[in-house]
């Protein structure tokens, strides 16, 4: 039965003899296509942005970040063992020390974050090696300690593989609280990393943990542990469990809360952009409905004859809604197609021309991600709007008296 209505509805739409879709009808369909297309693109960009950030954060800073405040005398090896034993979710851990410093090179100065890591366990926790763009992935200590630097630093200072870089580190004086001593550390650039997030690229220098311990004169102390979990999405739920295991003296955050404001902003942006662009779809749907309305009025006598041989008002309403849904479906289909094409175009543009300024958007390259859920939501809401918009013409059609349509041609 519904198939019959669908048959009639779509046939009345595809008429070649009498144009059901007037120029305004086509324009409104085009509007629908563009609206759906731009929504697909913007959701893909936002999703890609989010994923790029998430991946960058997880690759560079691990899934869980533990800061050790307590004076508990426990080596990092023991601490990692303890954490691993406490929960199956934990894959591995790596100790780290972070200290701020100033890098000076060829007359330029810039603040950097020096991160000391354990070369033996770094690969088990961080995905840094996949981000190597030049040189070798090595952070051996010793006489001439090696360093991996963000590509922003390499660019800014014009340093290359094998170059020596100097970093000045402030050491708090034991004698006077407000005084600092300077210590200089010389590192040899072993590799250059593309860290994904702009700030990372501009600031991060990775080197051997022992080197940093020596420079900052803290013995075997460490800032904390970075963890890798078997499932990154369970990180948040895992934190309370870990807090219980470790007790006081530790500050534990997941990858998301380390960058909370950023991920929150992305979340809000997604909703805002969705609704802003959705207005285009809304307008287009009502345009489609209004051309259907005109059509209903023009097709007075056809509707009358259908009613005369038994089309009920209910069926008529359903038929007109189907017409709107058919148009909405065409608009969605073409719109998703256009959106996907635009996504490819955007990807091409950013690899060819590097169109994203990293200083503004936090990342300088987005792996565009067309999520099934995004597209699904776009299609469902668009069809829903088309359906709702069709109710007015449908009611009009149902209200029209049969006999008037039969008196004239």
């Amino acid at each position: 039965m519904n198939l019959t209505l669908f048959w009639i509805a779509s046939r009345l739409l595809s008429s070649s003899q009498r144009k059901i879709l007037t120029l305004t009808g086509w324009v409104s369909l085009l509007g629908l296509v563009l609206g759906v297309g731009s929504l697909v693109v913007s959701m893909a960009v936002i999703s890609g942005f989010e994923s790029t950030l998430k991946k960058s954060v997880a690759d560079v800073a691990g899934h869980v970040n533990i800061l050790k405040f307590s004076n508990e005398q426990i080596t990092w090896q023991d601490l990692v063992e303890k954490i691993k034993k406490s929960d199956d979710l934990v894959e591995d851990g790596v100790p780290f020390i972070s200290i701020e410093g100033v890098m000076a090179h060829k007359g330029k100065l810039s603040g950097v974050m020096m991160q000391g890591l354990d070369p033996a366990s770094i690969q088990k926790v961080l995905n840094l090696s996949t981000r190597l763009v030049k040189g070798q992935f090595q952070i051996q200590g010793g006489e001439e300690p090696q360093a991996l630097i963000g590509k922003g630093i390499a660019q800014h200072f014009g340093v290359n593989i094998g170059d020596q870089i100097r970093i000045v580190v402030p050491i708090a004086s034991e004698l006077e609280v407000n005084q600092f001593r300077r210590r200089l550390v010389k590192l040899k650039v072993a590799g250059i990393l593309d860290l994904g997030k702009f700030e990372y690229d501009q600031r991060m220098i990775f080197t051997n943990i022992e080197t940093v311990q020596q420079v900052s004169e803290i013995g075997a102390q460490y800032t904390g542990i970075l963890l890798k979990l078997k499932d990154i999405d369970q990180a948040r739920a895992f934190i309370p469990r870990l807090e219980k295991t470790l007790g006081n003296g530790y500050r534990i955050r997941d990858w998301k809360s380390v960058n909370e404001p950023l991920f929150e902003a992305v979340k809000i942006e997604r909703v805002v952009i969705f609704f802003v662009i959705f207005v285009i779809i809304l307008a287009a749907s009502f345009n489609v409905a209004s051309s259907l309305y005109i059509n209903v009025v023009q097709r007075f006598s056809e509707i009358a004859i259908l009613k005369s041989f038994g089309l009920s008002s209910k069926q008529l309403v359903r038929m007109l809604s189907l017409q709107s849904l058919v148009l909405g479906g065409i608009g969605c289909g073409l719109g998703v197609g256009v959106g996907v094409l635009l996504c490819f175009g955007f990807s091409w543009l950013q690899t060819e021309f590097g169109i994203i300024p990293g200083s503004v958007y936090k990342v300088d390259h987005i792996d565009i991600e067309i999520r099934f859920l995004d597209v699904f939501i776009i299609i469902v809401t668009t069809l829903l709007i088309c359906y709702l918009a069709s109710l007015a013409p449908a009611k009009k059609g149902a209200r029209m008296t049969t006999v008037e349509g039969l008196r004239y041609e």
């Binding site: 003899q17 004859i305 009920s312 006999v403």
Partner: protein, 225 residues
């Protein structure tokens, strides 16, 4: 006497015109016998179409009742009436109202499809009707490829698709040349015989009217024989 198939009791209908009421039907009663051929004549504007629409449940009277066999049609809802029309009544109008997006055979299939009859069944039935009217070669033509006479025959085929008991026609030859008009007139009586139809036809054509078993003249809102 037989029980009438359709019987109307003191039907009235008026239209509002400007500020006043314009009475068109002022209490029309008629019994239509199963299998008879009834012709309604009358001056233009006398209310023939209005009456035909009410008898065919396309419109409702202001007052009065309409019975089909023993069923009070005035009590049915619009959607019930739609279903009733689909299964019991066929209509042919002055203008053929053939849908231009559908081929001849598809137009004829429409009432069956709306009733939920399968496509294959409907197509077979429609084909039989088409050949009955000498149009089998036109089955897959679109309306703009058919002549006025052929279109009116398609409309008649469509009206007969659901094997109605009563066939209503409102000036079915009003728009045709004399040759085509003759073909349609003959077809009506041929079909009446073949399908055992009850015919209720409005016409201006005196020669056509004389072929019916009963003529009723509508004037001043009443029947005068």
């Amino acid at each position: 006497m037989n029980k009438p198939i359709l019987s109307a009791r003191t039907l009235t209908k008026s239209y509002t015109q400007g500020t006043g009421e314009l009475p068109i039907l002022k209490g029309v009663s008629i019994d239509i016998q199963a299998g008879e051929s009834l012709c309604i004549v009358g001056a233009s504007g006398s209310g023939k179409s209005t009456l035909l629409h009410i008898l065919g449940t396309l419109d409702r009277p202001d007052s009065g009742e309409l019975y089909f066999e023993d069923r009070n049609l005035s009590a049915l809802s619009d959607d019930e009436l739609a279903q009733f029309r689909n299964s019991t009544m066929g209509f042919v109008f002055q203008f053929h109202h053939v849908l231009s997006e559908f081929t001849a055979i598809e137009n004829i299939m429409l009432p069956a499809r709306i009733a939920g009859i399968s496509k294959d069944q409907a197509r077979a039935d429609a084909m039989r009707l088409l050949s009955h009217m000498g149009l089998e070669s036109r089955a897959n033509h679109f309306p703009n490829q058919l002549s006025g006479g052929e279109l009116q025959r398609v409309a008649i085929g469509r009206a007969l698709m659901r094997r109605p008991k009563i066939l209503f026609a409102d000036e079915p030859t009003g728009n045709l040349d004399s040759n085509n008009s003759q073909i349609i007139q003959d077809l009506f009586f041929q079909l009446k015989k073949d399908y055992g139809l009850t015919l209720v036809v409005v016409t201006h054509d005196q020669k056509f009217a004389e072929k019916f078993s009963r003529q009723m003249k509508l004037s001043d809102g009443h029947f005068s024989t």
